[in-house]
């Protein structure tokens, strides 16, 4: 009788799942870190036009302006024409400067002088509204703007 007798037959031992929670936690932490919870509730339609000559946007020094048709539940108060949204509320052209400075003041001090205004404009909007916004930004001395687009070919 050999001392090193094999126990049992050739049965495989069960695979240990003890490390499964660790793996899942790792994934979990990745997504927790990568997640940016949406700050603004969009009140306007926002399908962005395509472009391919784009540059990346530095998020930390950005103020967003959304332009588009109001969503269904706001049509009653705001009409069907393209509206401007800054932060959480609708803004009209005369109030735009005040609203934008309010947003700029939320940024960190050292970034305020290099603010980039990101225009998220619905592709169905007219350039008239955009021109009005740009005129206000020009008067407010916020010259850096970026037209946010999706990646794609603009020439069919």
């Amino acid at each position: 009788m050999s001392k090193f007798k094999k126990k049992g037959g050739g049965e495989l031992p069960p695979i240990s799942t003890a490390s499964l929670p660790d793996i899942v936690f790792m994934l979990l932490f990745f997504f927790m870190v990568a997640t940016v919870l949406r700050k603004n509730n969009l009140k306007v339609d926002n399908i962005l036009p395509p472009a391919n000559q784009t540059e990346k946007l530095d998020k930390t020094r950005t103020v967003f302006i959304y332009v588009g048709k109001p969503k269904d539940q706001y049509v009653k108060g705001r009409g069907t024409e393209a509206n401007i949204q800054i932060g959480d509320k609708f803004v009209d052209i005369p109030e735009l400067k005040a609203a934008i400075f309010e947003e700029v003041n939320k940024l960190r001090d050292e970034l305020r002088s290099k603010v980039v205004v990101a225009l998220k404009v619905d592709e169905g909007a007219n350039t008239g509204v955009v021109n009005d916004v740009k005129k206000e930004l020009r008067e407010a001395n916020l010259p850096k703007i970026i037209y946010i687009t999706t990646q794609g070919e603009s020439v069919q």
Binding site: T17, A18, L20, P21, V24, F25, L27, L28, F31, M32, A34, T35, V36, L37, R38, P49, P50, A51, N52, Q53, T54, E55, K56, L57, D58, K59, V116, A118, L119, V121, D122, E123, G124, A125, N126, T127, G128, V130, N131, K134, L137, R138, E139, N141, L142, P143, K144, I145, I146, Y147, I148, T149, Q151, S154, V155
Partner: protein, 207 residues
């Protein structure tokens, strides 16, 4: 006294809990992918400023977009797909003669047509859009004009430094050392100065 060993906690459900959290974060995550066309607005209007110098017609490249999204370039109807090449031809023309009053453009590869732009730093693109122009058309035109500049800057960067302007610009944030980044910024600026982006915008007169 009998010693009771503490019962082991069953960790089998730990994975389930973690999965639940994982799925929650997976669903709420929007990995940010904001990209766009960066533009600079002109400074606020200063009433005391001296009147701007007169710009020769040949140094102006006039692009008009009307309310039906038709494109009119230098007085001729044009398809959007031809705009990039037309803008490149205009910017790269370098029509000023050697030794003339206006600096000769020694890196231009255009036709040197005396009735088109003198020098890239004199060449101005003027974009006029109607209030009722669709925004996607406007962005498409901006995109094509940007593409013309990027093409020329890529070409010059390739010639001078052996890399592409747009690629270097995009990789700027990933550079490890500050010295490297400063050097790259310096070179990018040098390329930008060869083909400065000069775009004026106006709104069409209402009638």
């Amino acid at each position: 006294m009998a010693k009771r060993s503490a019962p082991e906690i069953n960790a089998g459900s730990m994975a389930d809990i973690a999965f639940l959290l994982l799925i929650f974060f997976l669903v709420t995550t929007t990995i940010d992918k904001d990209k766009g066309l960066l533009r600079q607005l002109p400074p606020p209007i200063d009433e005391n400023a001296p009147p701007p110098p007169k710009i020769k017609d040949k140094n102006l490249f006039i692009v008009l977009v009307n309310r039906n999204n038709d494109l009119l370039v230098e007085g001729e109807l044009m398809e959007l797909k031809d705009l990039k090449q037309a803008a490149i031809d205009f910017l790269d023309n370098g029509g000023a003669p050697r030794g003339g009053e206006i600096a000769y453009c020694d890196y231009c590869q255009g036709e040197r047509n005396p009735s088109s732009s003198d020098n890239p730093d004199k060449a101005i693109i003027s974009l006029t859009s109607d209030r009722l122009t669709d925004y996607d058309m406007y962005v498409a035109v901006q995109n094509e004009l940007g593409a013309a500049y990027n093409y020329l800057r890529d070409r010059e960067a390739q010639r001078l430094f052996g890399w592409k302007y747009t690629e270097k610009n995009a990789s700027l944030t990933q550079m490890s050392s500050d010295a490297q980044r400063e050097k790259a910024k310096e070179q990018l600026k040098q390329i930008r100065d060869l083909f400065p982006f000069i775009l004026t915008e106006a709104e069409a007169k209402q009638n």
